[in-house]
């Protein structure tokens, strides 16, 4: 007993200062979204969107407001922002970080570095590139029944469940710091009073170099990961379109001779359901076969074209290099990077239409 009493006394005496810092919920400003804009040279402008409440505790209304400031480093911006805020900022609830197009194409290394060092920033947050100024995007009001941070987060989240390939901060870090892959993120734009995803912003390491359209993101996702849900429109014939809803898709990579003379076969299996095919008689067995064939052809064609485009640009958002590394011993990234633009990639799609709705 005396020993343990002594220990307790010692702990109380020497570790009295080792207590966590208090951050009472209502005494801090929870940053929901951060937007970074390019100003000039080294200077960047950051805009934060924070939820605020008006009214008493009984009928409080939640809204969001923005603060923005310019500086050279993102942490210093915090200090400048602090100067006009009633409460200190806390970055533990950041859910989306947006880079303006211009800033992204000049490289986001500095910001990423400071973000990934910050332990209070989560890894399941979303990064995005915005066309135009992020300040304008964040300071507008959107009639969606949600405050801007929640709107942006939910919008990106639900799209990643559907046709958009998954890409949060964790995935970004993996492809950013890992060899043999490049990162991508949603490309946002404000249209008709809403924010929308207009495509996939493709990065060459830290620089935004290219983008593919939102329509093509389904094809990209088919190659990138196995998933359920999502739908895509295919052209069946002249003036005849149909929508295929994905029930489950599976992708498989076969990489041959990764070290010497690489050759890649991508096999996609899609089990789907024809959703919207007005004018096409689905009850005829042959029609289904015809549809399957057409979709297969289109998918293979679009996918190969997309990969070809990546190769020409020298970017690797599908992580082919990473996949090749995992299939070969003593993998040499230098050689791979030289060969990358000319590696033959074949896409094979197996489409299976299992149903066409409840009407036979």
């Amino acid at each position: 007993m005396p020993k343990s009493n002594l220990m307790t006394a010692a702990i109380l005496l020497f570790l009295a200062g080792c207590t966590p810092q208090k951050q009472v919920l209502e005494d801090i400003q929870l940053i929901g979204v951060v937007g970074y804009d390019y100003v000039d040279g080294n200077k960047i402008q950051a805009t934060v969107s924070v939820p605020t409440t008006e009214g008493g505790s009984d009928q409080a209304v939640l809204s969001s407001t923005t603060y923005s400031a310019r500086s050279h480093t993102s942490k210093n911006i915090r200090q400048v922002l602090q100067a006009e805020s009633p409460k200190p900022f806390a970055s533990g609830r950041v859910s989306v970080i947006i880079f303006n197009e211009e800033l992204a194409s000049r490289g986001i290394t500095k910001i990423i570095d400071s973000l990934q060092r910050d332990p209070s920033v989560g890894r399941n947050i979303y990064l995005a590139v915005a066309k135009g100024s992020t300040k304008d995007m964040l300071s507008k009001d959107y009639p969606v029944g949600e405050i801007v941070p929640a709107y942006l987060k939910q919008m990106i989240e639900q799209n990643m469940k559907l046709t958009f390939p998954r890409a949060n901060f964790h995935h970004f870090n993996y492809s950013y710091y890992g060899k043999g892959s490049d990162s991508f993120m949603p490309l946002l734009d404000t249209k008709h009073g809403h924010i929308r995803i207009v495509g996939v912003a493709l990065f060459d390491h830290s620089k935004y170099v290219d983008h593919i359209s939102f329509e093509d993101s389904f094809i990209f996702k088919l190659m990138y990961q196995s998933f359920r849900q999502g739908s895509h429109e295919f052209k069946l014939g002249k003036d005849n379109y149909l929508t295929l809803e994905n029930l489950s898709s599976h992708v498989n990579y076969d990489i041959y001779n990764a070290n010497t003379n690489p050759k890649i076969n991508i096999t996609i299996h899609v089990r789907g359901k024809v959703n919207d095919a007005a004018g096409t008689p689905l009850y005829q067995g042959k029609t289904i076969e015809m549809i399957e064939k057409t979709i297969k052809k289109q998918t293979e064609h679009d996918a190969e074209k997309m990969v070809d485009r990546f190769q020409k640009k020298g970017i690797d958002p599908l992580g082919l290099g990473d996949r090749a590394r995992s299939s070969a011993r003593r993998f040499n990234f230098k050689e791979w990077n030289q060969k990358y633009p000319n590696i033959p990639v074949h896409v094979k799609a197996n489409i299976e239409v299992t149903q066409g709705g409840i009407v036979e």
């Binding site: 208090k22 951050q23 919920l25 929870l30 009214g55 505790s57 533990g92």
Partner: protein, 505 residues
């Protein structure tokens, strides 16, 4: 130094209460002392009859004295005391000249019969009256189905209620008298052949070692014989149900009944037993198991919910689910207190309500509940003093704490919430974890009559789990709990217990 002081005290008490006096009183001195009380009578019926009768009027049954005693004394005036004791139709008549015995029994309602005033030997005829109240419905351990008898304040009736349920000669009843002033009769019940005598001896020794002047209820005993008297956790179960006592006796436990107390103590016990209501055995086992787990969840919720609220709101805003964040910020905005003050105010007001309700007659108590719960609650939120989220949490936590079937335990649960709150305020979730570690460590060290308190869980006794966190059907309960180390561990033949002798088979 302390020894001396104690010695002095003892001397003083000996001088004050004659009962402890080692110096023998003479019979005359005793009579002198007794006559100082107004309710002591001593008389000789008439000169023809030699017998002198003395008793405390308030302690004897007058009917017995008038109908069964005095007629015999007057009619058999020529007999000696020995012959008289055979004549009188009352059992357990003692013929003694020991003054100490005489004093003890006259004070518990015996009638002293002397053949002639001045003679030292006398007859002690037990004629105690026992005023008792009606057997009523259990109030703190009420059950919807099942027997509705509760113990009353009379020891004999209580023993009767147990023996009625276990009519076997192996049910032993041992009596110990404790309390210098109250001379309370404490009775230890156990089933010989099932119980482990170690438990009985521990209990008997602890009870006879009690040093106190008055023992008025079994809860006195409960606190005095607990293994760790400084623990907030009760270490014996306090029950008012004779059926529960009968059930645990047949498990190999020991029960203690105290004269004048409407509740029995049973032990050795474990923590999980405090969360099993006796009604669990009256319901089908699935339902009983689910209810038991709901109760356990209720305990955890009741202890941890407000501390977690304080911890999360003060330290870990990152942990709040996104969908709840807006609601929480909205409900907290405009409240002048930090979460801890808010939580303590609400917790204390709930305790106030409970205390006020408990001290008032039941009808007024209900009104207090309504006034407190609805009026103060809504008003506090509307006045912006507390957030409605916390109000819900505190109310639910209080509700959850009342699900514990044993009253003593539910008090403990409400109490240990406060250290958790303080730790949560200082160190957030880390503090809650530290406090849990302290409480858990304390419970690990606790014992009940020398048997581990967290038993079926630690040390893990898989066979005892059949009736711990959940309750398996009766045909799986063929073994008595290992916790008590019963002399006979088998309750019934499990093979035959599982058979179904239906006519079709």
């Amino acid at each position: 130094m302390f020894g001396k002081r104690r010695q002095k005290k003892q001397d003083r008490s000996q001088n004050q209460s004659s009962g402890q006096a080692k110096t023998q009183l003479t019979f005359e001195q005793l009579m002198e002392k007794c006559r100082a009380s107004k309710d002591f009578v001593s008389f000789t019926k008439s000169d023809k009859h030699p017998f002198t009768i003395s008793y405390y009027k308030s302690m004897v049954n007058p009917e017995l004295v008038h109908k069964d005693l005095i007629p015999y004394l007057t009619s058999c005036s020529s007999l000696s005391l020995k012959e008289l004791s055979q004549e009188i139709p009352v059992e357990n008549i003692e013929h003694t000249s020991d003054v100490q015995t005489i004093m003890d029994s006259v004070l518990t309602g015996s009638v002293i019969v002397q053949s002639r005033p001045g003679k030292k030997d006398c007859l002690l005829i037990p004629a105690a009256t026992a005023e008792k109240r009606q057997i009523s419905v259990p109030e703190t351990e009420f059950s919807v189905v099942g027997p509705k008898e509760a113990f009353i304040e009379t020891l004999e009736v209580n023993i009767n209620m147990v023996r009625k349920r276990l009519p076997i000669p192996e049910l032993h009843v041992k009596e110990v008298t404790v309390g210098k002033l109250s001379k309370t009769r404490v009775v230890i019940l156990y089933i010989d052949g099932i119980v482990n005598m170690e438990n009985v001896n521990t209990l008997k020794q602890r009870i006879s070692d009690i040093e106190y002047d008055h023992i008025l209820d079994s809860t006195y005993i409960l606190q005095m014989i607990s293994d760790d008297q400084y623990s907030p956790f009760p270490q014996l179960i306090n029950t008012e149900r004779p059926d529960r006592v009968a059930a645990v006796l047949s498990e190999g436990k020991v029960a203690v009944l105290v004269d004048g107390s409407p509740s029995a103590l049973t032990g050795p016990t474990t923590l999980v037993e405090f969360f099993s209501a006796f009604e669990d055995y009256f319901l089908s086992w699935h339902i009983a198991s689910v209810f038991r787990m709901i109760r356990l969840f209720g305990v955890l919720f009741s202890v941890l919910s407000t501390p977690l609220y304080v911890a999360v709101l003060t330290f870990h805003y990152e942990m709040i689910p996104t969908d709840l964040l807006g609601t929480l910020i909205a409900s907290r905005s405009g409240i002048p207190f930090p979460p801890i003050v808010e939580a303590i105010i609400l917790e204390l007001s709930i305790e106030l309500l409970r205390e006020a309700g408990a001290r008032l007659p039941s009808k007024v108590g209900q009104t207090i509940g309504i006034v407190g719960g609805i009026v103060i609650g809504t008003a506090a939120v509307q006045a912006g003093l507390t957030s409605n989220v916390l109000l819900i949490i505190v109310a639910l936590a209080a509700l959850a704490s009342f699900t514990t079937p044993v009253y003593q335990m539910s008090n403990t649960i409400r109490l240990i919430r406060f250290p958790f709150l303080i730790f949560a305020q200082f160190w957030g979730m880390l503090g809650v974890a530290i406090c849990s570690a302290f409480i858990l460590g304390h419970m690990l060290r606790l014992t009940s009559l020398g048997r581990p308190y967290l038993a079926p869980l630690f040390p893990l006794r898989i066979t005892d789990l059949k009736d711990a966190l959940f309750r398996l059907p009766f045909n799986r309960q063929s073994l008595r709990p290992m916790q008590m180390r019963p002399a006979d561990p088998v309750r019934f033949n499990s093979q035959r217990g599982k058979q179904k002798n239906d006519i079709e088979e």
